[in-house]
Amino acid sequence: MNSDDRGHNAGADARRAGAGFSPPDLEKTIRRRRRSKALGVVFSSALALLIVVGISALFMRTEPEVAPADTTTTTTLSPETTATTTTEPAATTTTVAVLPTEPAYGGVVKVASNTDMMYGYTDIDGTYQAPTINPLIDPSNAADVARLTVPGAFRLDPGTGEAMPWVVNPIPTTGNGGVVVEDGKATVTYQINPEAVWADGTPITADDFIFTYQLIMNDDLPARGNLREIHSLIDGETLSGNGKTVTFQLTHPDPRYERLFPWLVPAHAVEAETFADNWNDHLWLSGGPFVFDNYEPSSSPDTSPGVIYFSRNDNYWEYDDSGNRLPYLDGVEMQVFGPALTTPTTSTWFGTKSTDVVLPGLIDPFSRGSLGDPEEQGFVLTPSWDSLFEMIGFEMRDSRFEVNPKSLNAELLYRQAVLSAIDRNAISEETGFPVAPSIAATASPGLDIDVWQQYDDPARTEDLLAELGDAIGRDFSTEPPTASYTSSPGDETIVIGDAAAAQLEAAGWDVTTEYTWDFFNINLPEGRNDIFAMRLFAGDGLADLAHLISFFDPALPEDEIYFDWSAVGEPAERYAEIAAEAQTTLDPNRLEELVVEAETILADNAIVYPLVRRQVSLMPYWPERIQGVIPLQGWNTATAAWWWSPAQAGDASPAGSEGN
């Protein structure tokens, strides 16, 4: 059979399969997406992941590091190391010039961006937007580009996921008096960095915060749903300010107050009336390290990008640790592609050095082969991890008996035996994904909760089963335990599921597996199996963890609950109390206590089990061309003020770059 016949047969097969699609009510579709946004408060991180990611490598980073240069002809560059990235072994290139080893001024870098300027966007609320780089309208699409010029109240520390000062300094907390709770009302006070100015020299003031809030909450403007959702925490009637001070009350205490104002708009330079239409292909007055110059669209953006040109903001107000004015670079050329750009095309673009770095989102890790060998070619390939993780859980409802009448999920010893039998370290080796040490640590790498290690001992399985057998009067050597395992049939989930099933079988189980696209629509909500596997976004930091706790809350209303383990009894009741308190706790110390207690309950009662973290993309870069880029999904350009180019470094510093 030739490929044409094969194609026609496969096409007919697809048509038969596709005949099962029926159009959902479009209005309901829109409403459902809006509702899922509201439901997804627990997933604020899943959504916020795309708009709010931290930066603090600039606070905790090592200096862009260049190994001592060979004084003859070979320069060896070592990639930088950060708390959040893993890098390939040092790349070696042969050059004639001896490149600088410390950040230096000068140069323009070319950056391939995930920003799509071709087809616009349809977000979770189901509304269509034109292609735009306006981050208030479409932050997930515009972030890479807009972050070069648009500052925010805060940055997130990628090492901990917590908010760090930017325009607002310090981050207000209950500890420093920036947040005061009285009679159940929380009042937040911002102190704006006294040096923060827009590119025209106008100070960034309370007026800009109030104006930005009004833009976001204006029903006539298409601000994106999750920006509006989080800013609905502000009681608008109380928002006021004067000069460098802003104050407002929260509608209710919520730890996500730290994530307010991730973008700021200059009140004196932008008109609200034209805001929705005026800023789709250029950006307003900068308050960031660069200023927008111009945008040259491409006629064939799926193969050749449009380019957005930025140059140094000579009035940028931040300094490096040595007191040198930032940014280091003279300019940035952001390359924006169309939606049909493929990994091989991107790889070719990068391989010909048409770009200096490909930001995450364009290189599919499963197609990495098209990039070639980093060591041979001299580039660095940095994985982009985010807080996505794979986990398994136990179905506790009676519906599980329809698939596995012998399900023993109600028995704690049984659940513990299953978790002990599943070797997540082996799964990590098989998938190449690192073990998720805990749910909390996945969102907040600095938060180490040692509660799951009790299951990292497969040898315990036999003892646990023996103890269970004694307790329920069953001899597992003659009547093996049975398990039905289900997940969606993604490439990675199948690998993980097969590995887990094989491990259970090796420990004496009879296992059936079911991988189906209806996992999220039928198997999980209806409880068709007794072990399920899925992936979740943990989010960033304690604020998101507070809401992630809700995902496992067995006391949620019936139409919001994801899985119901209330049959476990008292631990489930306590968990529900924790979840409720965590939603309204502003004290980070108390919040950490709640997060730790919640995960301890999940672990000790073997309710779920975090397995491995997921890699979402890869970031290749030419180390002689650019240093200092830290891949942070959704906010990759947040470190642009600290980027520098060894190959383009000049002798002279730009005017005004001397220490402050």
Binding site: A17, P339, A340, L362
Partner: protein
């Protein structure tokens, strides 16, 4: 009456072209568009999201889209472009993760078809789009060119290269169509 009027009753009033019914368009085209996105994504849930995205766009701009010469082609172009975007697929899959509502059960394809479309998804984006439109919908070269907004010659080139690649992967000889 065969035509619509602007409210008058006499045949002497000017003919006003009505806007075609979006609902009918949606019901008629949805399954076919979702099938296209399914073969290009392999993920039925994501495919439905992408198809719905495309129709939401058509709905939003229906006054304009309805007057296009080929709104059916327009919505296919948008949907297949969306499907070829890795980033958008990831987002759609993320949405699928969040959605727990009942939805259509899609029959599994045969192993041979599954294998074929898996190879198609490895093709460069434009080639995959052309192959999907050609084999799933039996579209002619000219029709595909109109849908994707490229020349017929370009379609032929993409189709030829795709067939060559697929033939080599399946260990068969590419024959002239």
């Amino acid at each position: 009456m065969g035509r619509q009027s602007n409210g008058g009753t006499g045949d002497d009033l000017p003919v006003v072209r009505s806007t075609p019914d979006f609902g009918a368009f949606y019901r008629r085209e949805y399954a076919a568009v979702a099938t296209l996105t399914m073969v290009l994504t392999r993920n039925a849930a994501a495919a439905e999201d992408l198809a719905q995205d495309a129709f939401l766009r058509a709905h939003r701009d229906w006054d304009k889209v309805a007057r296009f010469e080929n709104p059916e082609g327009w919505v296919r172009r948008v949907a297949t472009n969306l499907a070829m975007s890795r980033f958008r697929r990831m987002r759609a899959e993320g949405r699928a993760l969040l959605r727990l509502s009942p939805r259509t059960v899609v029959d599994a394809m045969s192993p041979e078809a599954t294998e074929f479309w898996a190879e198609v998804r490895r093709l460069p984006g434009r080639q995959a789009q052309v192959v999907a439109l050609h084999y799933v919908e039996d579209r002619s070269v000219d029709e595909i060119a109109a849908i994707l907004g490229i020349t017929s010659g370009s379609v032929k080139t993409h189709l030829h290269r795709a067939r060559q690649t697929l033939a080599s992967r399946f260990g068969t000889r590419e024959e002239a169509p």
